[in-house]
């Protein structure tokens, strides 16, 4: 027993005096290490895999084949959290403390992201472009929001519909969580600016797919416009229900996070004529120079993977990180990266409109209006303003 204690104490002494290295974690002479906890199983597995392996990593392969960032290659590690907050916490801690990543990139979903925000701020690790739309990430020094925040989306949607197109009667069906409620609050506020209010709002619990009762109630309120603040499954169900009961004199409008191809595929012909706010140019058909490059890179490195919104979101995250790390110069630290990101002004990615990051740490501030025609989103307006 005594010998054991002595050994342990000796070990302690050795560990106690081991030097703490002053170097920036995750940055060596030849490499920058990034990591992220994401969904590779669970409800958002497809999104997670596309964003990381076929998005972020796609752009970094292009960068690395071109000589890297100031001679450093970018390497990434991802851990699966299956959309569970406790596993996101464990993964994030492992990435920061064991793998010593330089920054966290594109974590996904409100619960996992919110669960790790406090830790990230106290450890002063940059969290780059979390893919979730609630405003909880605002006002954090080390966090740069990835997806358009709900209040900006709401402003663009309401200004377009009530301001330009003079609609008067609005209602909403929303998911009963942070995602849905943050939109609802924003709608009330923005409609108020136009002297209007929501006539009715019906909530849908997460994971529920039958929305017939809510649709029936909303029809009774006779709105001209119905906002869909849902995820693809129940949203497609809402559209089918509307078709089934023959409710024609209403415009269904989807929010930014919902406007994606998966939702269209689920709804089938019930989606025809639906409008919405699109946060990304069409990854398959857009002629924007950045989107064309994205398709070329995808065809070169992952010819079997179809272009989609999630991989282009990851690809865009890669572009932003690379641009900021380039600007920060050869001596890259976490604080110099933050300063460099904050200093991005009128940055043109060729995918989204020119981006100025300061002072709000938001990377996506605009969207444009789309209408579903023959099963695809057709662009109706140019980029809308959200300021």
């Amino acid at each position: 027993m005594r010998t054991l204690l002595t050994t342990v104490l000796a070990l302690l002494a050795v560990l106690g005096v081991s030097p703490v290295d002053a170097q920036t974690p995750g940055v060596t002479d030849v490499e920058i290490l990034l990591g992220g906890s994401n969904s590779f199983s669970g409800p958002l597995a497809f999104t997670g895999e596309q964003m990381t392996k076929f998005g972020v990593d796609l752009y970094f392969r292009v960068v690395n084949d071109g000589g890297g960032i100031h001679g450093r290659k970018v390497r990434t590690i991802y851990y699966d959290d299956g959309y569970k907050p406790q596993e996101a916490v464990a993964n994030t801690r492992k990435l920061v403390e064991q793998d010593r990543v330089f920054a966290l990139i594109v974590p996904q979903g409100s619960p996992p992201v919110v669960a790790t925000l406090g830790y990230v701020e106290t450890q002063r690790v940059p969290m780059l472009f979390p893919y979730q739309s609630s405003p909880v990430t605002r006002g954090k020094k080390y966090v740069f929001q990835g997806m358009t925040v709900s209040d900006r989306s709401s402003r663009m949607m309401v200004d377009h519909l009530a301001g330009q197109r003079k609609h008067k009667r609005f209602a909403a069906i929303y998911q009963d969580d942070e995602y849905g409620k943050s939109f609802l609050t924003a709608f009330e506020k923005d409609l108020g600016r136009h002297g209007l209010a929501l006539l009715a709002a019906e909530s849908v619990k997460r994971g529920v797919t039958d929305v017939s009762a809510q649709i029936a109630k909303l029809q009774a309120a006779k709105p001209e416009v119905l906002f869909l603040v849902l995820v693809p499954g129940p949203a497609a169900q809402a559209l089918k229900e509307r078709q089934k009961i023959g409710w024609k004199d209403v415009l269904m409008v989807s929010t930014g996070p919902l406007t994606d191809e998966r939702y269209l595929a689920l709804a089938g012909d019930a989606a025809e004529g639906v409008e919405g706010l699109s946060l990304w140019p069409d990854p398959v058909t857009s002629d924007l120079p950045g989107v064309k490059r994205y398709r070329e890179h995808m065809a070169k490195y992952f010819p079997k993977n179809e272009p989609n919104r999630y991989s282009i979101a990851g690809y865009f995250a890669g572009i932003l990180f690379t641009a900021a790390a380039q600007r920060a110069g050869r001596t890259l630290t976490r604080d110099s990266l933050i300063a460099s990101l904050e200093g991005l002004k009128g940055f043109d990615s060729g995918i989204l409109p020119p981006l100025t990051m300061a002072p709000d740490h938001e990377t996506q501030k605009q969207g444009f209006w789309v209408r579903v025609e023959k099963g695809r989103f057709t662009q109706v307006t140019d980029w809308l303003k959200s300021e």
């Binding site: 070990l11 302690l12 699966d80 569970k84 406790q86 464990a90 492992k94 919110v114 619990k205 997460r206």
Partner: protein, 307 residues
């Protein structure tokens, strides 16, 4: 042999936060939390043969009681919070245990499975109390003037509670109650014939098991610092069952080892991304094929508790 090993083990556990990086301290806390659940589940399944696929539900009740209590009444010392979390969960366990008395085998598994879903549904709908799907950030636990904020502090809390729970479980299994539970497992009819009140002991097992799981849930809330309904899905219940099957039904050391294996597997397999569920499943099948009695059956004799 046994004493030396116990002494060395305890010394190592006590010094652990000074020996390893913070992350492993955190991970070890999670292992101990899961071990408490596994012991609780084993008291139910291993000793009275009642299989539960709803322990994630009990775990969630404990976690939410502890979190909400700490939010609303920050002055309550953490030990009281944990006892209350355990008691509240034990009450829920009683409420579930009594109607489940008539159920056996698959039917009991179905009822407990449904219970797990009901708890998650309740958390989502009681959003004035639980904040629904958005989850709760759990404040730091306090023990008198001490704020248990660091990983090491949380670890010592978890370790202390864990040690008490293990000691209590070992004692339960050695008492009249423990023997009664074992008798029920071996043969319900024989047990009844020897004067064991079947309904009372089965219900008691449910309540005790729920108490263990509730306390563990409370610790979990403090260790992870954030809870939301997404954390407590049916797969967590399955993981708990996997822990006691891998570890060994009816064995307390086996429960601890099983909890460690499953927790560390999750940590290690996270790097395999999409392949994680596949690898996890293959490893479990492998364990079942080569160690059908669980790891406990292959552990050296001196680790087995006297029965």
């Amino acid at each position: 042999m046994r004493r030396a090993a116990l002494g060395a083990g305890s010394a190592l556990l006590l010094l652990w936060p000074f020996l390893v990086p913070r992350y492993f301290v955190f991970l070890t806390s999670l292992v101990v939390v899961n071990a408490i659940v596994a012991i609780g589940l084993n008291l139910l399944s291993g000793y009275t043969n009642q299989l539960s696929f709803g322990h994630a539900g009990f775990f969630a009740v404990g976690a939410y009681v502890a979190a909400v209590l700490t939010l609303r009444a920050p002055g309550v010392p953490v030990v009281a919070t944990l006892v209350l979390a355990g008691l509240a969960t034990a009450l829920v366990g009683l409420a579930l245990g009594i109607p489940c008395l008539r159920l056996e085998g698959l039917y009991l598994a179905m009822a407990t499975l449904a219970f797990g879903f009901v708890v998650v549904e309740a958390i989502q709908n009681l959003d004035w109390l639980t904040r629904g799907n958005d989850g709760v950030a759990v404040p730091t636990a306090h023990l008198g003037p001490l704020a248990l904020a660091s990983d090491a502090a949380k670890y010592y809390l978890v370790l202390g509670v864990g040690a008490l729970m293990v000691a209590a479980a070992v004692n339960i299994t050695r008492t009249r109650t423990g023997r009664a539970l074992l008798a029920i497992r071996e043969s319900e009819i024989a047990a009844q014939a020897s004067g064991v009140h079947l309904a009372a002991y089965r219900t008691l097992a449910f309540a005790v098991s729920a108490f263990y799981t509730g306390v563990a849930g409370g610790l979990f809330a403090f260790v992870v610092g954030f809870i939301s309904p997404d954390a407590f899905d049916v797969f967590l219940s399955v993981d708990f069952v996997a822990m006691i099957i891998i570890g060994g039904l009816g064995s307390i050391p086996g429960s601890v080892v099983g909890a460690a294996v499953i927790t560390l597997l999750y940590d290690w397999l996270a790097a395999f991304q999409n392949y994680r569920p596949l690898l996890f499943g293959l490893i479990l099948i492998g364990c079942m094929l080569f160690m059908p009695g669980g790891i406990a059956s292959r552990m050296p004799k001196w680790t087995q508790q006297a029965q």
